[in-house]
């Protein structure tokens, strides 16, 4: 047995990778989950930075009434593209495709995902979709101007390049389905010996729940977008009121996907946070099962609440009531998670490192975003704030304050493992200060604007909103400064910083038990798992 070279012969795969391709192709054709994860990360960052820049331009336009830097048509295209890039190219694939791909096999003690080639295929789909989305900018009659929601019948009438943007979203949907399917199968089949479902790190649990949403919800988006294309090209009439179609049905189908999609965005972030907190509190998580099951609860109840985006669209009073009721139910699992995280800090031994700081900001920002979600979920108040900046503030708080901040936390937390080098912590704290202040200045203002009645997707505004728009825009500048400092620091760190050790943070999950950066095939020998994921041996010894 000692002669055995098990692990070295995952036959075709190595063969395929090591012999055939060099240079950039060694990346583009690699089926190694780590390489795919890193490719996703960098592609995403690119599109993300473009979208951030668009957001910045929008704020510039809103600084003063009337035309400042762009006309109404450009503004409309820009918020559409900003939304499409952020949602479909960044925040939905975001954590699962980048960090999930890299970390999931490591965390469950596998050499790769269940279908490595499918994984690569899903990256290609992603890239194709992304390129199409960008092409829609420069070709044909100009970028789409419908908002990321593509509401019919406007999306059927406008002369802009909606078809390409819709096609992009359609292909990205495929990419998302394949990732979800792959992860679910991986978790069912490839857990290391001894790793029962309840010994998986909570990040894996969140990916599991996310995978199910991707599978359950994305096909509906696929068919809806396909129908929009058919409407535009052929005029089949199913959403066009002139031809007897019902535009409200479009909204139903769109949100059947897009509400669950918001949980695709948030669940993996919650999972990462559930890994980060025990690491830096030096103790096990409080209420492991409660957190794991609440992920599943969110995934399944989240499937039933789409109607809350349509409270003013003319659906029946009964369905408004039912959707409102279910919306409130879906808030409870999130509350459970928040309380469990807090309890995990209790009697820990807390080390406030950059990943912890960015991660813990999630709790406050997400709570603000989530609690304002309750205002949106209540029928009476949503009637007033629907389609105003209140909603814009809500979703930036949950998406950017929630997922975005945890994304940053993850970059700090796992970055050293992925790139093998350390960043400068001091600079990270400074960047955090700018981010936190700028963020709240930018988006909290929007809550006030929204309640005052400032509608969203407005190129211009009434004079009474001016001063608050100025505050928000200045906030966006502070935020951007923070972003720049943070990225420059990370870039320099991962490029030139001191070498990172195998386990710089004292993490307890399996990804910290392989060398930094992890080798091809991850493990020399598949480990046998004996403990729960957040087992800090030190605590046990000292207590005896």
């Amino acid at each position: 047995m000692s002669d055995s070279v098990a692990g070295s012969l995952a036959a075709e795969k190595n063969f395929y990778q090591e012999k055939t391709h060099k240079g950039i192709l060694a990346w583009l054709l690699s089926t190694d989950h780590k390489r795919i994860g890193i490719m996703y990360l960098f592609s995403m960052l690119t599109f993300f930075l473009i979208a951030v820049f668009l957001g910045f331009l929008m704020r510039l336009e809103m600084l003063t009434p009337g035309e400042t830097v762009m006309g109404a048509h450009t503004y409309n295209s820009i918020f559409t593209l900003h939304g499409v890039l952020m949602i479909f190219l960044f925040i939905i694939p975001g954590i699962p495709a980048a960090f999930g791909n890299f970390m999931l096999p490591l965390q469950i003690g596998a050499r790769d995902v269940a279908f490595p080639r499918l994984n690569l295929l899903s990256y290609w789909f992603y890239l194709t979709g992304a390129i199409l989305a960008l092409l829609s900018l420069f070709t044909g009659p100009g970028p789409a101007d419908t908002g990321w929601t593509f509401y019919a019948p406007y999306s059927l009438r406008t002369g802009t390049n909606v078809a390409l943007a819709v096609m992009a979203a359609f292909i990205l949907g495929f990419s998302s389905i394949l990732t979800g399917l792959n992860f679910i199968t991986t978790m069912h089949r490839l857990r290391a010996p001894g790793m029962s479902f309840f010994k998986m790190p909570l990040f894996c649990w969140s990916l599991y729940a996310t995978g199910w949403i991707q599978i359950l919800a994305t096909p509906i988006l696929g068919i809806t977008l396909a129908l929009v294309l058919m409407e535009r090209w052929l005029g089949i009439g199913v959403f066009d009121p002139v031809k007897g179609g019902d535009p409200v049905l479009y909204q139903h189908l769109f949100w059947i996907y897009s509400h669950p999609a918001v949980y695709i965005m948030i669940l993996p972030a919650m999972g990462i946070l559930s890994d980060i907190i025990p690491t830096f509190a030096r103790r096990t998580i409080f209420g492991y099962k409660a957190i794991a099951f609440s992920s599943l609860a969110i995934a399944f109840v989240g499937y039933l609440v789409w109607g809350h985006h349509m409270f003013t669209s003319g659906i029946s009073d009964t369905s408004r009531m039912a959707f409102s009721f279910l919306t409130f139910l879906v808030a409870i699992p999130s509350a459970i998670k928040v309380f469990n995280w807090l309890a995990t800090l209790y009697k820990g031994s807390i080390d406030v490192t950059p990943p912890f700081l960015y991660g813990i900001s999630f709790i406050i920002l997400f709570s603000i975003g989530g609690l304002t979600g309750l205002i949106l979920g209540a029928l009476a108040t949503d009637i007033h704030v629907h389609d105003t900046y209140f909603v814009v503030a809500h979703f930036h708080y949950v998406m950017f304050g929630g997922t975005g901040f945890v994304f940053f936390a993850a970059l700090h937390y796992w970055g050293p493992k992925m790139f093998g080098r350390m960043f400068n912590s001091k600079v990270s704290y400074i960047a955090w200060g700018f981010l936190f202040v700028g963020f709240n200045m930018l988006y909290f203002t929007m809550f006030v604007l929204g309640y005052m009645g400032m509608p969203r997707r407005y190129y211009d505004f009434l004079p009474e909103f001016h001063s608050l728009h100025v505050v928000a825009t200045v906030g966006s500048w502070i935020l951007i400064i923070g972003i720049i400092i943070m990225f420059v620091n990370l870039y320099r760190g991962f490029r030139y910083g001191p070498r990172a050790t195998m386990n710089p943070w004292g993490g307890t999950t399996l990804e910290w038990k392989v060398p930094t950066p992890p080798p091809l095939e991850n493990f020399d020998k598949i480990p046998e798992v004996k403990h729960e994921p957040y087992y800090h041996p030190r605590n046990q010894e000292e207590r005896q």
Binding site: D3, S4, V5, A6, G7, S8, L9, A10, A11, E12, K13, N14, F15, E18, K19, A114, F115, L118, I177, L181, N182, I184, T185, H188, R189, L190, I215, L216, T218, P219, I220, G222, I223, T224, A226, L227, M230, L234, G235, I236, G237, V238, K243, G244, G245, D246, L249, L253, I256
Partner: protein, 260 residues
């Protein structure tokens, strides 16, 4: 004295995993059509008369023929899978080709059916159709969208069958490669190939420190796993084909029989 090194093949092919993956995928396909069925149900409710009238304009006979064709093709697909499981490769190929032919027949039928309607000027966006009541526009919109999408699935299913034929006709081979850092472990040893009973089939030269990497390619159909792999591939394609069939079983009554 050199010692033979044992090459344990990493178990990287997981038939159960493949099946799970396939079922999940089929599930997404159901949901895809599910969205369309939902639309159909809602519009049927909104425009009952127009839908009944529209349906009565479709050719029930052609529809029924196509139903029979697809059902039969599902049967031949099952037979193809069964044949491979019993190791009857040739028979399996025969049934696969039969299934493929049925698929083609279905498409040809569909082509004439659509062609006829288009000749009458009844297609989305046509001058003729815009004169019809709204419910009928929607009916035909859905008719073309749903049967079209289904047709696309038939085509995809057939393409998959072509791939499978290729796999079944091809001689399998297996390549192992040993990387340089692992070669060190094998220094002074030999590679040994043996069958299940332990009979030695082949032995390599002694591996010296000059050897920096190795590829071993073995041709022919030999491992259990290899067989399993094409079997599961065929089985999964079979599942896909049944999906195509089942969806048609829903489409047929919805479009051709509601008028009755």
């Amino acid at each position: 004295m050199s010692q033979a090194a044992e090459l344990t093949m990493e178990k990287h092919y997981d038939p159960i995993g493949s099946r799970i993956g396939m079922w999940l995928f089929l599930f997404t396909e159901f949901l895809l059509f599910g969205g369309l069925f939902l639309l159909y149900a809602i519009y049927l409710n909104k425009y009952p008369e127009e839908f009944h009238y529209g349906s009565s304009q479709l050719d029930q006979f052609v529809g029924a023929m196509n139903t029979i064709i697809l059902l039969t093709s599902s049967l031949t697909m099952v037979l193809a899978v069964g044949a491979l499981q019993r190791d009857r490769r040739k028979l399996s190929i025969f049934f696969l080709v039969t299934t493929f032919t049925f698929g083609a027949a279905f498409l040809i039928n569909k082509y004439f059916e659509w062609g006829h309607k288009i000749e009458l000027g009844i297609y989305p966006g046509s001058q003729e159709l815009t004169q019809h009541p709204q419910g009928e526009i929607v009916f035909y919109g859905l008719y073309y969208a749903m049967t079209g999408l289904h047709g696309l699935h038939v085509i995809i299913g057939m393409v998959i069958m072509l791939f499978l034929l290729y796999f079944l006709l091809k001689k399998s081979h297996r390549a192992l490669s040993i990387k340089s850092n692992q070669i060190q472990n094998l220094n002074g040893k030999r590679l040994l190939l043996s069958d299940e009973t332990g009979k030695k089939l082949w032995k390599s030269q002694e591996i010296t420190s000059e050897v920096t990497g190795m590829d071993v390619v073995v041709k022919g159909v030999f491992t259990e796993e290899q067989l399993k792999s094409s079997e599961v591939k065929l089985e999964n394609s079979g599942l896909y084909w049944h999906l195509v069939d089942i969806i048609w079983i829903f489409l047929f009554p919805l479009f051709y029989l509601v008028s009755m």
